[in-house]
Structures are given as C-alpha cells and as structure tokens.
C-alpha cells in the first residue's frame, strides 16, 4: 500500500470525522432488547434477516428484510435513527432466502415505485425461484409476488441482484441451472451453473424474456451490478475458467438483451471444486468504462480480499492490492461519493469481528490505513455501503447491535 504525506494530510479531516463517528453511541438496539421491551415478539428491522437498504429520491431510507417466511419493507425519514411499522410484501409465506449472499433486494424509482426481488428456496436440492414484487402506492401495499425465471423448471434460480439505471431500466440478474439440467440430461458434463438476466422498461409491470449471459458460472456467489452508460449495466461474477478455476468475469448487458463478450476481470488462479459463497463488490469509477472491484479469492496468485480497478477498454485490472489476507476476513463492499472511494469489509482476529474501512482519494491508486469502525464478538451479516447524494452510509446487521445504519462520510 502506498501512502504519500499529501495523501495522509488529505485524510486528516476524514480521520477526525471518523473519530467523531466512533465516539457517537450506536443508536441501534439488538433484537433481544427490542423483544424484551414488548409484551409479544415484534416485527422489527432489528430482528430481521439479511437486510438491504436504499435511499429514494426524497432522501427517505427504505430497508427490506426477511422474518418468518415473509419479506418486509420499512421506511426511515431520519436516516435510520427510527423506522416506521414494517409492511409485509408477500401475504403467503414462502421460503425466502436470507443469508449473506442471498437477501431481499430493494430499489425505489424516482416516481416512487418500490421494487423488490428475492430468491425463494423450493427444495433442499439447490432449487429456487426468482421472485419480484412492487408497490405503486408508496410502499403501503405490495403486488402479489411473481416468479421471474421463465423456464417453468424445478431447478436452481438463485442469487438474484436488482439494479435500476438512471434511464429507468430495471435489471434483474441471477444464477440459473436450466442449461446444466439440459446438458446433464444428454449425459454431458456441465461445470457450475449459468448467469441469466431480464429487464423491465416499465418499472416492473412487465419483463422481457430471460437472456443468458454466460455458461459455467460458479453456483453460489452474489453478482455485482454497476451502471454502464445510461441504459446498460456491467456485471461482475465468479466464473469457472478451464473447468476448475473460479475467478471473476465481467460483461456488459443491454436492455435489448445484447450481451458483450465476457472478459476475465481477475486472474487469481483459484483451482477449486467448491462453493466459496463469497461474491464480489463493484462500483462504476468516475472515468467511463472503468470499475472499482473488490473480491475474495484463495487462489495461487491472490489469497484474501483484493481491490483493483478494471478498465473495459484496456481489458485489464490496474492498481491491484491485497486489502486483507487474514483467513476469516471477507465480504467487501465498495462505494464512491464525491471523489472518495470507500471500502468496508469484515475482519476476524480469532476472538471478534472488526468492521474495517479504508478510503482512497485518487481512484484506488493509494489508500488510507485500515480503520476499525465497530467490532462484535457475536454473529453478524455482511456489511453493505449505501450511497445517497448526501454521502455514504454503513448498513449492517449484528446480533449485538441489531440493525445499524450510520453515515461514514461527513460532507
């Protein structure tokens, strides 16, 4: 990691802000506290599984989570200090998945349409369906969930990601096993699964037919999505190269169903026939066609959490660094706001899980030293970074603190 004095000086203010942040008590409360304060168990964001969060155009925070086979949505008008009564999305209970790599996703369009996707498990044989619901009355009620995979097969459709472009194209991507089933039926080998996607151009009223992005993806890692121009997106996922190497691929998708040729975004040489359950994070850099990526690998070339900036034009990564090589460290999340790049991840020191943050002011060419934001010695979810026009926020669920939503930037 390179650090010049000027960079360090520029971080001085940021450090002060961080110290202030650390000295502010965490307002969130654990599920245990919430339940103890009520006569009966309560539906609360502090008790929900695998929450995800987004800001709407008016600066309201929306959080989706899973509790007892239902997806819920709750809203906050004070950036997470307090939350409104959660609204149930699916009236009929379903086995909605909620873990680090599989969580309900939520986006809110500028017109106020609230849209959600999640994966519902349909058996213990890795089968599932990609589900979608939306609210057109400002989150007061939700439409009956629909299944978005259009093959009608009882097979794997899981690990969904949802993304809305500036131009209003809603992308839904996921890991799909329809091609694997068809290939195995012919007694041929099919390493891994496939990546599929669809797009809605009318805020989730309808979706185009499912389109395949790639054969032979890894089966169990979340897909990262970032904008590419106004209409397109770039996606980053763990792909199987040469039948046994599980590194990352990047491709550009269009709302017409056109898929660019995939590029190998990371060369870690991770030879493994196993499930890492460890997907990447990606945000678009200010320079068009460039992407900040952070990922995990235990490859021969790179082991641990890494960062690099990928240039689609040059077709190669730049400024690759090892962020944290400690076993147990993982699940990075990136955000870019006002020229500052934020990278948060979970460390592990043998006794507790520190949430680590580092920042870059020069597009990932140099980084601040890692700072510990919070630490817990109980169970916790992956940390997520949420961006608004105002700044960057940490969204994190842990048993000890419940759901924490806190600003990291101070501008």
């Amino acid at each position: 990691m390179r650090m010049s004095p000027t960079i360090f000086e520029r971080f001085g203010l940021g450090l002060l802000a961080l110290l202030f942040w650390l000295s502010t008590p965490v307002q969130a409360e654990s599920c245990e506290t919430v339940r103890a304060a009520q006569s009966s168990p309560q539906i609360s964001v502090h008790c929900g599984g695998a929450p995800s969060a987004v800001f709407d155009a008016d600066g309201h925070l929306w959080v989706a989570f899973v509790l007892d086979k239902h997806v819920y949505v709750t809203r906050s008008s004070d950036e997470g200090a307090s939350f409104a009564e959660p609204v149930q999305v699916n009236a009929e209970p379903e086995d909605a998945e909620f873990n680090g790599e599989n969580r309900p996703k939520i986006v809110v369009a500028p017109d106020g349409t609230v849209m959600l996707s999640w994966t519902t498990k349909t058996s213990s044989q890795f089968t599932g369906e990609i589900r979608f619901s939306r609210s057109v009355d400002g989150g007061r009620s939700f439409e009956t969930p629909r299944t978005i995979n259009d093959d009608g097969l009882h097979t794997g459709h899981r690990f969904d990601s949802l993304f809305l472009t500036e131009s209003g194209k809603l992308y839904l991507t996921w890991i799909d096993k329809r091609d694997m089933e068809a290939t195995l039926a012919r007694d041929e080998a099919y390493p891994g699964a496939a990546i599929y996607y669809t797009v809605s151009s009318d805020m989730g009223a309808s979706f185009m037919p499912n389109v395949r992005v790639s054969h032979n993806s890894c089966e169990c890692c979340r897909i990262a999505v970032a904008p590419h121009g106004k209409d397109n997106v770039a996606i980053l996922w763990r792909q199987i190269f040469d039948d046994h190497i599980r590194d990352h691929a990047i491709a550009v998708l269009s709302p017409q169903g056109l898929v660019s040729e995939l590029s190998r975004a990371t060369v870690d040489d991770w030879y493994i026939d196993a499930c890492p359950h460890h997907g990447p994070s990606m945000v678009a850099a200010d320079e068009p066609g460039q992407y900040h990526m952070s990922w995990f690998s235990a490859g021969n070339l790179h082991a641990g959490i890494h960062y690099a900036r990928y240039d689609l034009g040059a077709d190669m990564p730049a400024d690759l660094i090892k962020v944290d090589g400690t076993p147990g460290a993982g699940h990075p999340s990136l955000a870019l706001h006002d020229g500052t790049l934020y990278l948060v991840w979970k460390g592990f020191d043998g006794m507790s899980t520190p949430l680590q943050l580092m920042q870059s002011q020069d597009d990932g060419r140099s980084w601040s030293a890692a700072q510990t934001l919070m630490s817990t010695s109980q169970g916790s979810d992956h940390p997520l970074l949420i961006t608004s026009p105002r700044g960057v926020f940490l969204s994190w669920y842990s048993e000890e603190f419940g759901y924490v939503f806190k600003e990291l930037s101070n501008d």
Binding site: D273, A274, P327, G328
Partner: protein
C-alpha cells in the same frame, strides 16, 4: 419381581434418553466453540478424517456420497462429519445425510451464530470454502484439502 421391573427400567431409560435429546431423534450434535478440541481428545493417539459440508453446497454432496459408501463398507472408519449450517436446519441436514447412509453416525452442526469463531476453532487458516477436509495422523499432525475429496485423494492423504 425382577422380570416385572425390567420392562419398567428399560422404559425409564428410553424416556430419559428422549428427554436428554429433546424432540430430536437423530444423531446430530451441537458444535460449539469447544467441540473441536473435544473431538480431537476423543481421537487422542488415533488418526481421523474431518469432512465439513453445508446443505447449500452442491459439491459437498459428491463428497458425502463417497464418504457414505466408505462408512458402509467399514463402520469403524474414523470419520467426523460437521455441517457449517445452523443446527436450526437439522431436519434438512438429516434428510440429506439419509440419502448417503450417514444419518446413523454421529455428526455435528454449528450451534453458535458467531460462525467465524467456530470456523477458527477448527482451523484458523480456513477461509470458509466448502467442502473442506482434514486428515489427522496418529500424532495429530494435520493436512487440509479444499474442494471435493475423491477416493484417490483420500487414499493419498490418509494412509491408515
């Protein structure tokens, strides 16, 4: 007298066994922060194999299939099977283990939500990828393997 008392004693023993195990009539045990040290001391001076899996891991099923056949051929094979799923998923795990003939042997499931600490208690160098297996020699020197364990690899790593 003795004849009459015996069925009652047997019934009493069965009832207390049920009480100890709660409502779960399976062979799955809680895996906590101290469990791995206990497993090692139970195998003091003896070689054994550890196989880590989860219900959500497709490649793990290939390995469980191989291990199930091995266990059926040799009931004394020193195999320790641990699922990194929460023990809340025990019914799903039992269903899967049944399919490989492994429901009759004691196995463990993570019984603490602080999974990072449980993983660390098994092996500080493990990143959490599955399947993962360990080969302990009689002196408990250890080799680790990530990815599907094949019969060939097992023979190579575990010549006991």
């Amino acid at each position: 007298m003795i004849d009459a008392a015996l069925p009652r004693l047997v019934l009493g023993a069965v009832l207390s066994l049920v009480a100890v195990q709660g409502v779960h009539a399976d062979n799955i045990q809680d895996f906590g922060p101290q469990t791995f040290a206990q497993i090692k001391s139970q195998h003091a001076g003896k070689p054994f194999i550890v196989s880590l899996w989860s219900v959500d891991c497709a490649p793990c099923r290939v390995e469980l299939d191989m291990l199930g056949k091995l266990k059926q051929a040799d009931a004394d094979f020193p195999l320790v099977v641990i699922s990194s799923d929460s023990i809340d998923k025990r019914e799903e795990a039992v269903d899967i283990l049944q399919g490989y003939g492994l429901d009759g042997v004691p196995t463990w499931m993570f019984a603490d939500t602080f999974v990072e600490r449980l993983r660390f208690s098994i092996d500080p160098q493990w990143y959490g990828e599955l399947p993962r297996s360990y080969f302990f020699a009689p002196d408990h020197s250890m080799k680790a393997h990530s990815g599907i364990l094949t019969a060939d690899k097992l023979a190579e790593f575990f010549p006991y």
